[in-house]
Assembly symmetry: C2
Homo-oligomer: 196 residues x 2
């Protein structure tokens, strides 16, 4: 085999995704370059295409890494928390997005070419994050409304996403809003109150 060192294929994949994630975290989606990633790990552009097949697959893998980190961060922030778990989850949501703003934004900047659809692995990661929120919402709801938890969780995820997005892209600053997290928490509280 023509390996230049002792990386097996999965290890090379890991190197690329790792460096790719570092790159997109630093320069953002718009300035991301597959060539630059290759150069930084001592390979050339051809090797990246041999491993991933296309730019889209590479970006899916990098976004997958971001989702992994996001879920891990969420679970870490909930570990051992007894009271106010939902609030902790929402604060963790913002904290992660701000700390990894470029990588987080890339999750939404990147869209697959028309016709292609998101691979199952990726779907599972989004559902895993959603699952955490569904679980926390279920705990906040009266037992007889448990069946409503998934729908409410999806909607509150969208609510928090909107606030987080406006916080990061400057819309809130433009409109004079100075505490996006507090506003998101307000809206979540309003929704829960309506269900009680």
């Amino acid at each position: 085999m023509g390996r230049r060192s002792d990386h097996t294929r999965p290890e090379l994949r890991e190197m690329i995704v790792s460096e790719g994630h570092r790159q997109i975290s630093e320069v953002g989606f718009a300035r991301f370059s597959a060539r630059e990633v290759a150069k930084r790990i001592g390979y050339t552009i051809g090797t990246l295409y041999n491993v991933f097949g296309s730019y889209d697959q590479l970006l899916l893998a990098i976004n997958g890494r971001t989702l992994d980190l996001w879920l891990a961060n969420l679970e870490r922030h909930l570990e051992g928390v007894e009271q106010g778990r939902l609030e902790a989850a929402i604060r963790a949501y913002f904290e992660f997005a701000i700390a990894h703003r470029h990588a987080w934004t890339a999750l939404y900047d990147f869209r697959l070419s028309e016709g292609e659809e998101m691979p199952e692995v990726q779907r599972a990661k989004v559902e895993a994050i959603t699952g955490v929120i569904i679980r926390e919402i279920t705990d906040e709801l009266p037992a007889e409304r448990s069946a409503d938890a998934p729908e409410l969780a999806r909607s509150l995820l969208a609510t928090v996403h909107g606030h987080c997005f406006f916080a990061l892209n400057g819309t809130f600053a433009l409109l004079g809003e100075t505490d996006p997290v507090a506003r998101a928490l307000d809206r979540v509280e309003d929704a829960l109150a309506a269900y009680r």
Copy 2:
């Protein structure tokens, strides 16, 4: 002057923005090409740069056009409506985003280069749309809570944005949500209920 026909400068600007908006509406932000816009109106790339100075300024102008159309659409949908004006506004929000999905998405796909900030004209357009919502929220609130309208309006805009964004990018479909508009209306109603 070297004009090839009878366009004055403002008219050429108008031609470019008009064709640019058409292009971005058709192919989306990722596939948008300034060269292609120039070709379609019978000019070359150089002329576009003489008129707009940079790619960023061109895209700002195109997004400005989208904001203009958005505000006009919003006002049209509220014209003569007596009851349920806020609901009408939210439905109009979704309707516009869906009808102009690529142009609407480009509003958020495009970000200025670091350092540059949004020109005043653009800020004013975002504030104009927000202003409509603030006005409608004010009408829904008890008179003694009027002062809270701007804050609540910003937050509900973020809420609706999040639902609309998830509807368009496929997140809601992935999670099994089939009626994003209804969910957004639910959340707005919850918030208003808390204020009453």
